[in-house]
Structures are given as C-alpha cells and as structure tokens.
C-alpha cells in the first residue's frame, strides 16, 4: 500500500523529534501505545502556565510511517495553540490531513490520545482535575 505524499514527507522529515525534560513542571508528557501493531508514541509539550499556550512540542515514535507522520503532524498543530484548542484536535482531522487509509486510522487515534495524555499529565502537575472526557480513552 502506498503512503500519501504528506505521510512520506513527515516520515522523511519528521518535525520536532526529540524530548523535553520530563521533570520540568511546565512539561507534560504523554506516552501511549497501540497494542494491535506494537507502536509506542511519546509526545511532550512545554506549556506556559500563565497563558496556557503550548510553546514547544516534541515527539518520539517507534512505529510505522503513519504513526510517525501522525505524531509529527500533531506536534506541528499543537504548537502555538492553547491547551483548550489543542484538546479540540480530533483524530479525524489528522486522517483527513494525511489521507490515511482505514487500516491506519488507529495511528491517528494514537496521536490524539498522546495529545490528551500529555496535557493530562501537565494538568496533573498543576493540580488541575482532568475531566473524564479529556482522558485518553481509546
């Protein structure tokens, strides 16, 4: 099966690969996995506690091209957004942007879960209750 051009682009030139200090109180870390294919994805963001704006995002994904592209795109999209805006990103947006075929939809789900998990982790560090619907649920 052929990957779409955008997937190939993100795969060959992944944006924002790397990591942020996990212990930093302003850094939220989300580590999620897709058991069906054995992919693991780590997404981290540095969030300004005053403005709630995501100032930096990094990812590291061990998995297929679509999983890498989905997480790469997710880091691009969340940067500069507020926490609320980032939480509004849906996996279907990623599917559309990357033209993912049905068998790769779970990769986009993984990326959405990673965003939620990272923000959830940051909120926890700041003593904010994470509402049920914002938890990584897939």
């Amino acid at each position: 099966m052929a990957y779409s051009e955008k997937v190939v682009d993100h795969y060959n030139n992944p944006r924002n690969v790397g990591s942020l200090p996990k212990e930093d109180p302003n850094v939220g870390t989300g580590l999620v996995g897709a058991p069906e294919c054995g992919d693991v994805m780590k997404l981290q963001m540095r969030i300004n506690p005053e403005t709630q704006v995501i100032e930096e995002a990094k990812f590291k994904t061990f998995g297929c091209g679509s999983a890498i592209a989905s997480s790469s795109l997710a880091t691009e999209w969340v940067k500069g957004k507020t926490v609320e805006e980032a939480l509004a990103i849906k996996n279907t947006d990623i599917v559309r942007e990357l033209s993912l075929p049905p068998v790769k939809i779970h990769c986009s789900v993984l990326a959405e879960d990673a965003i939620k998990a990272a923000i959830g982790n940051w909120k926890k560090k700041h003593g904010v209750e994470v509402p049920e619907h914002e938890k990584a649920s897939h």
Binding site: L31, G33, P35, G38, D39, V40, K42, K60, F62, H138
Partner: protein, 228 residues
Amino acid sequence: MSTQLPITNPPLVCWNCHERTIGTHFCPGCGKLLQLPQGSDYFAMFELPRKLWIEMDALEQKFLQLSWKLHPDNFVSATEQEREISLKRSSELNDAYRTLRDPIARVEYLLAIEGMRKNGENKQQAPPELLEEVFELNESLDELREAKAEGSDTASLRQRLEAAEKSFGEKLNEVDGALQSKAQEWDDAIDAGANVADRGKIMAQLNELLNRRSYIRNLVVNVQKELL
C-alpha cells in the same frame, strides 16, 4: 449452568430444499452444500469447542477432508449458486485453518468472536509500566542503530545488538509461556463450565498478554533487521 459451550453450528434453512437443518456442511435432507450459517465460526466449522488447545494432526486431517468435500472441482457441473457457495466455503475453510493452526492467531480469533478484541480498536490502554519498558527498549535499540549509522566499532556494536536480540527473545519466550498457561486456564474453565465473569477475566488476561507480545515481537523483528 451449562457445562459445555455449544460446538455445532446454529440451525439454518437449506437454500435448496427449504428444510431447517443442523448440518454443518451438507444438508442432511437433500445433500446439497450448505452456506455457512450466520454466527458460525472457525471452531464450529471444524466441529471443535471454543477451546485453545487443538490437536494439530486431527485439525489437519479434518482440513484435508473438508477441502476435498468443499472443493470447487466437485461442483463444475452444478448450478452457479452451488459453484459460488463452494468457492466461498473453500476460501472460508482456508482462512479458518490458517487461523486455528497458529496458536497466537487462534487466541486473537477466540477473543474477537467472544467480543473481547475488536478489529482496529482496542478499548483499554496498555499498562504504563509496559509502555515505559517498551519505550526504553526501543530507545536502546535506537542508540545502537545510530551508532551503527555513525560507523562506530562494528564488532562491539554487533555484540550489543546480539545481546539485545537475546534479551528480547527471552522476553518473547516468557510471554509465550505465559500465554500457553493462560490458554490452559481457559480450557480448564470451559471444561468446568465457568461463568461469564470468570471467562471474561481470563480473556482480559489473554488480551493483555497478546498486547505485550505484539510490542515485544516488534522489538525482536527490529533488532533482527539491524543484524542482517
């Protein structure tokens, strides 16, 4: 409480003689090849209970026997409908055999038909410890990969990769061992007529082991790629 799960196919109406039939493959009334009844499954196709231990020789015998009976060659001069059924049944039979023959695919299939594992989605997240562990193992493999790309001392690198392969392989064996004993537990529970809650518990554990296995298998495959 029932002591045994049903192993026969659900009854259906024969497409040819319109009699209700409980035949698995051929209508006992008119002898025509039957469509596979809805709600039937691979275990029922082989007239096996939904248990995880399967005698391989018997499975193969049954497969050969059935493929011979269902084979499209037997229906060249039959009606188009019969030819179609034969083709469909033969391909289903091949899928069934391929699935039941493989102990891992067999567990995956059992969990799928029992509603524990849905295709393409998985409701529960893997435990965080497992993800941490898998992530770290992947990172260590990544470091070796980078070192390889930089052309560092290949002999010592190869040693480290081989050590990683050995350790991942051991983990895979551990998981396979755990899966095997959990499968035994499932069969015992079926024999003992365990209730839905108890069966559900075992299935959840089987599912967790399968998940762990797919992460570790990826690691094994990836490290082997580096060693080629």
